[in-house]
């Protein structure tokens, strides 16, 4: 088997605060293979987003954060890489999509300008004209028809869905090996979200990009991911191929999470303990039904 694009082993994270030390991640392990779409699912505060930030090296710079464990990108330990090399990975080999597309774009620059900045990360000497035509080509891939208008617009002049597509196009502009999507489109309405996710799925398949998809939305995860990790209170409690996990959730927390999904039919959302002791049960791994 080839080296995983992203391989996290025993990652621990704690924050030193005024009131003492808070452990956030209790040794989580996960891996994403080249071209694979992996989802990390959990409730708010379970440690999903901080994991993404560690992968991108954003938390390491914080003095109050204490991190241990190993994060390997394409087989290389991120921690042992020189600062400059690690920095060079960002925006080129890995990139990220955020929750709110509109606020993730700088309001005072035109989209074309921002595309130019992004493409300059991949090719420092790219000219404005080249950047704009490249941008138009990528935008066409995310089904943006009038690319010229979009490139000439400011972010607040575009709809949320359009901004989201722009974000996806930007994130994939430099052909990254790994794309981290942190609850993409949560700020959008559901139909637009579904549309853009569909586009994103098509695009990562074509570009063979590995995706770490962070979400609390199980419906979306089921649609999008090949493999699922369920995270609860800083621990991975269940992992396996999407179908296996959804059809036969084994861990009590996963079952509770599934039960909490609102349905169109049926009798509403069941009562679930905020914090059942069962949830601390050990890791469940689905070995059957999937290739990993």
């Amino acid at each position: 088997m080839s080296t995983p694009t992203l391989d996290i082993q025993d990652l621990e994270l704690g924050f030193k605060g005024y009131t003492g030390f808070t452990q956030v991640l209790h040794g989580i392990s996960l891996s994403v293979n080249p071209g694979e779409r992996v989802a990390l699912v959990g409730e708010s505060g379970s440690g999903k987003s901080v994991t993404a930030r560690i992968v991108l090296g954003l938390l390491q710079e914080l003095r109050t954060a204490k991190i241990s464990g190993s994060v390997r990108f394409e087989g290389r330990e991120l921690d042992q890489m020189p600062r400059r090399e690690r920095h060079a990975l960002r925006g080129k080999a890995m990139s990220m999509i955020f929750q709110d597309p509109t606020s993730s774009l700088n309001p005072v620059f035109r989209i074309g300008e921002q595309f130019h900045d992004v493409l300059r990360r991949g090719d420092a000497k790219i000219t404005r004209a080249d950047a704009l035509s490249r941008a138009a080509a990528i935008l066409a891939e995310v089904s943006v028809r009038d690319a010229d208008r979009v490139l000439n617009a400011f972010p607040f002049q575009l709809s949320g869905g359009l901004n989201q597509r722009v974000m996806i196009a930007m994130a994939l502009a430099n052909e990254p090996a790994l794309l981290i999507a942190d609850e993409p489109g949560t700020a959008l309405d559901v139909t637009v979200q579904a549309q853009t996710l569909h586009l994103m799925r098509k695009l990562v398949e074509e570009h063979h990009t590995a995706v770490l998809f962070i979400s609390h939305n199980l419906g979306v995860v089921r649609e999008f991911a090949d493999r699922v990790y369920v995270i609860y209170k800083g621990r991975i409690v269940e992992q396996g191929p999407t179908r296996a996990v959804f059809e036969a959730p084994r861990h009590p927390y996963t079952r509770a999470l599934m039960a909490a999904v609102p349905r169109l039919t049926g009798g509403g959302i069941p009562d679930i303990d905020e914090d059942s002791p069962d949830f601390a049960a050990p890791l469940e791994i689905h070995q059957d039904g999937g290739q990993s």
Partner: protein, 277 residues
């Protein structure tokens, strides 16, 4: 830009501001051509016509050594505007840079820079300027220096507060994620978002700088004679109120026109650019 101008001229108050500022700038720039007695801006004496009430050709009257007040006011505008522009040209970049750096980097850098700013802010501005002018020689250059020293912290405060807010915006995080440098984030991502507030404050401040400079001159610490200055003209004339009222009233009105004009424009810009603060 076009839009801004259109809105400015649509509102009667801001249109008035625009006209006042235009008159002030025009008279400062073309003082040589407008002034009936250009030589009166220097050390000239004409005792035949001293202390005259307004009458042709001395439309604003003459001062105690017979110089045309109108001519002197035009030249005083020139000094005031240069002072305002120079002060802001120095104070704004310094203040803005410190505010951006402190706001974005945070931690110890922020603590150090902002406490330093607080020290400057805690001294009453006029007192600080007087102290500086007292130590140095009271010349025009030192006057600018003194006003600059008391002016930059306000920009630091303003920009610091905006930066603290913008720092949490998604686009800053996005820039960090794709590996933009700190300098890029500070000056190319955050600074452009502060520009409306900075421009608005600069327009408002133009009037206040003129006012402060006049106050300093009024106290005898600003521009020195025989260079014409609105503040010192008011100060000189005040001794002869109410008999020689024109000595005080006209320079006073001149200050009013300039400050009022800039403030009107500043207010209008604040509405247009939607800057808080």
């Amino acid at each position: 830009m076009k839009r801004t101008f259109a809105i400015l001229t649509a509102n009667p108050l801001s249109l008035l501001g625009l006209i006042l500022v235009f008159v002030v700038v025009f008279s400062a720039v073309f003082a040589d051509f407008i002034a009936p007695f250009p030589e009166h801006s220097g050390a000239v004496v004409d005792f035949a016509n001293f202390n005259k009430a307004p009458e042709w050709p001395y439309i604003f009257g003459t001062d105690l050594v017979g110089r045309d007040l109108f001519s002197r006011i035009l030249y005083a505008y020139r000094i005031s505007l240069i002072l305002g522009v120079v002060v802001l040209a120095i104070a704004v970049p310094i203040g803005v840079t410190i505010g951006l750096v402190a706001g974005y980097l945070g931690g110890r850098t922020e603590y150090l820079l902002m406490r330093m700013t607080d020290v400057f802010l805690s001294v009453p501005p006029l007192v600080l300027a007087m102290a500086i002018m007292g130590v140095l020689k009271p010349t025009l250059a030192n006057g600018m220096l003194a006003v600059t020293a008391m002016w930059w912290p306000w920009y630091t405060r303003l920009v610091y507060n905006i930066t603290r807010g913008e720092k949490e915006e998604g686009y800053v995080l996005a820039a960090e994620v794709i590996g933009a440098s700190r300098a890029h984030i500070i000056f190319r991502e955050i600074l452009p978002n502060c520009v409306p507030a900075i421009v608005t404050k600069m327009t408002l401040d133009m009037g206040f700088v003129i006012l402060i400079a006049s106050s300093l001159s009024f106290l005898g610490l600003g521009v020195q004679p025989p260079t014409p200055d609105l503040g010192s003209m008011v100060a000189d004339g005040a001794k002869y109120l109410p008999d020689s009222w024109w000595l005080t009233i006209f320079p006073g009105l001149a200050i009013l026109v300039a400050v009022f004009g800039f403030n009107l424009i500043g207010d209008a810009l604040r509405d247009i650019l939607g800057a808080e603060q």
